[in-house]
């Protein structure tokens, strides 16, 4: 019985990986050569954009919305950990999970964070106004994934249930906004590279000035 769910999970992760790779290649489209003479280091720009630029001290959206920012980070850390566990289980079906209360709690807290963001989207008129069905479906799938990861970790549900839930998420992942899982990195890399090329990043003043 588990073999079918294992195949399903493997197929979904493979589908997501291939589809995202395809989308990335199409988006790159051969790239765009920058003909301007550079004034800074694109590499340093990328490094800055993936490190200091993401700290609340440097990023106003994080600084002004520290709770939401922290909730978002917690949810994503939980997702990444759950994905790592899923991949471990796919690679080695005989792998026995740790049945760790700590890991189960991490997934559970991440699921609660996802629920908070879902409810916030429902309650905020501004967010409702810019949201499509995809925005709700995506976060619900993520919450489901985290809940099943937590329950599987705690031994409450069978691994097959976790595989099925994961498959639903991964088959949907490249289709909606969840593809930001890849495009987050691509966008941030591109932006950092461009601002590094122009000498904007890293900032020359050494520290980012405080917010008004």
């Amino acid at each position: 019985m588990l073999e079918k769910e294992w195949i399903l999970a493997l197929a979904s992760v493979s589908f997501a990986a291939v589809a995202l790779l395809f989308q990335t290649a199409v988006s790159w489209g051969g790239g765009r050569k920058d003909h301007s003479v550079r004034a800074g280091s694109p590499l340093r720009g990328v490094i800055y954009n993936f490190t200091s630029a993401m700290k609340p001290s440097h990023k106003e959206t994080a600084r002004l919305h520290l709770v939401k920012f922290t909730v978002g980070v917690a949810m994503h850390l939980g997702i990444l950990t759950a994905i790592a566990e899923l991949i471990l289980l796919i690679v080695d079906p005989s792998f026995e999970p740790w049945r760790s209360v700590v890991l189960g709690s991490v997934f559970g807290v991440a699921a609660l964070c996802g629920l908070y963001l879902f409810v916030r989207r429902l309650l905020s008129a501004t967010l409702r106004g810019i949201s499509s069905i995809d925005d709700y479906v995506s976060v619900l799938l993520v919450i489901g994934f985290l809940v099943f990861a937590a329950l599987e970790e705690l031994g409450v549900v069978e691994r097959s249930a976790f595989f099925i839930c994961s498959a639903v998420l991964f088959f949907y992942l490249p289709l909606g906004k969840l593809r930001h899982a890849v495009f987050f990195f691509m966008a941030r890399m591109d932006y950092g590279r461009r601002l590094g090329h122009r000498g904007v990043y890293p900032p020359k003043c050494g520290k980012v000035p405080p917010n008004a």
């Binding site: 790239g31 994080a62 932006y191 917010n211 008004a212």
Partner: protein
């Protein structure tokens, strides 16, 4: 154009704009809604339509419709919209009237999306569809037809240069000071904002004074001297390329070795960074801002400054296109520290500065005038907090907006170009 033709042209423009790295940004928005306070327009008018994420989403909705699977099969699921004439009309106010493409939301975006570039994709689409606001398009047309945005004839330019030179000779007590026009073989080809020629000659005069003091070999052209490029704002890359080409060809024709740009935020970004890409090849001639050149004069001892000659407190407004998009943030600061006695930074500044509200071509679109002035409140508050008497800004567009903010918010300040303060401080 028929509705079909409009839709086709817009889709082609989207395809061109999305090809390459632009598509990364169009695929990455999660609509987290945290970006509101980063936008000067949203801060002044906090309605959902002004949320940067909402503005970007409008452009992205078209991308999803034609470039994603779910957008093609079930557009309602992902909020994808077709490029009908009506939907494109809706986009006009969003990308031209609710956004100056200043990029502040981008550098603060929780994901890292270059929202300014996404907005410009929207402008690319509308330019192809012939839906650029009429007043903005008129500026682009002027530049293409006459070589400058204010349609100033070469004879008028020469006449203006002559009387500014005359005044400067009297002021400096030196008969050799002049504004050279169409002089071949000079080292520097200087591009100015037509606003300097038409309404505010002090900055051109000051630049001439600084060039003279530094013993620079320079000239302007009577035909192509405009540093501005409203193709950047309209989203018409072909027009922007042509405007760039005119100036580059003129510098080459005159045999100059370097192009120096007057204080103009979007002019710097256009010529320094976007121009080579619009033309599809690198320039054969280097381009610098006059700020960088003046700092070089100071460092090499070609000019000397006395800060006591500018006694009043001076603050600095960072033009978005020069600083956040252009990377020139320090030369103006170094110059001001050397040229004025009391320099006070605004907060925040540099790549975190707030747009004055006049960027993105907003000054040319009178239909959005009230929003433009209203959105400048954040900048007015920043200026007031410094208690400065003079606001220096290396951008003529910003200067125009700051002049209006000064009146509207009763700030009681003077607006000056950096070169004016440097000229005042010359020893």
């Amino acid at each position: 154009m028929s509705d079909d033709a409009v839709s086709r042209a817009a889709r082609d423009a989207l395809r061109r704009a999305a090809r390459g790295l632009g598509a990364y940004h169009l695929n990455a928005c999660v609509k987290c809604g945290l970006c509101g306070e980063t936008c000067h327009i949203y801060r002044a008018e906090p309605v959902p339509e002004n949320l940067p994420g909402a503005k970007a989403s409008e452009v992205i909705s078209f991308f999803r419709r034609y470039h994603t699977l779910l957008g093609r099969l079930a557009p309602f699921l992902v909020g994808a919209r077709s490029m009908t004439a009506e939907n494109l009309d809706d986009l006009v106010e969003t990308v031209y009237g609710r956004c100056t493409a200043c990029g502040r939301c981008g550098v603060n975006c929780s994901v890292g999306i270059d929202v300014g570039t996404v907005i410009r994709v929207g402008r690319n689409i509308l330019a192809a569809a012939g839906k650029v606001p009429a007043n903005l398009q008129a500026v682009v047309d002027n530049q293409l037809k006459t070589g400058n945005q204010m349609s100033i004839e070469p004879a008028e330019l020469k006449e203006t240069a002559a009387w500014i030179s005359e005044d400067l000779r009297l002021e400096m007590g030196n008969d050799e000071v002049t504004i050279p026009v169409d002089e071949p073989g000079r080292r520097v080809f200087y591009l100015v904002n037509p606003r300097e020629v038409k309404f505010f000659p002090l900055s051109l005069s000051a630049a001439a004074g600084v060039f003279h003091a530094a013993k620079e070999s320079w000239t302007i052209s009577s035909r192509f001297y405009d540093v501005t490029n409203y193709g950047l704002f309209s989203g018409d890359d072909n027009a922007a390329a042509e405007i760039t080409r005119q100036a580059i060809d003129e510098a080459t024709r005159l045999g100059c070795q370097e192009i120096v740009l007057s204080e103009c935020g979007h002019g710097f970004r256009s010529f320094r960074w976007e121009g080579p890409n619009w033309l599809g090849k690198p320039y054969e001639i280097p381009v610098r801002s006059i700020l960088e050149v003046m700092l070089e004069y100071v460092r090499s001892g070609r000019i000397k400054l006395d800060p006591k000659k500018n006694k009043d407190r001076v603050t600095l407004h960072d033009p978005c296109n020069l600083v956040r998009w252009g990377g020139v943030s320090e030369p103006q600061r170094e110059l001001l520290r050397l040229a004025v006695a009391d320099f006070q930074e605004m907060t925040p500044n540099r790549e975190q500065n707030f747009c004055c509200g006049g960027g993105g071509g907003m000054l040319s679109m009178s239909e959005y005038g009230d929003r433009r002035i209203g959105s400048g409140k954040t900048k007015a508050d920043q200026i007031r907090a410094t208690e400065a008497k003079i606001v220096a800004t290396p951008c003529h567009n910003c200067a125009d907006q700051l002049l209006e903010l000064n009146k509207h918010h009763k700030l009681g300040v003077e607006i000056q170009a950096v070169v004016e303060l440097v000229y005042n401080a010359l020893l």
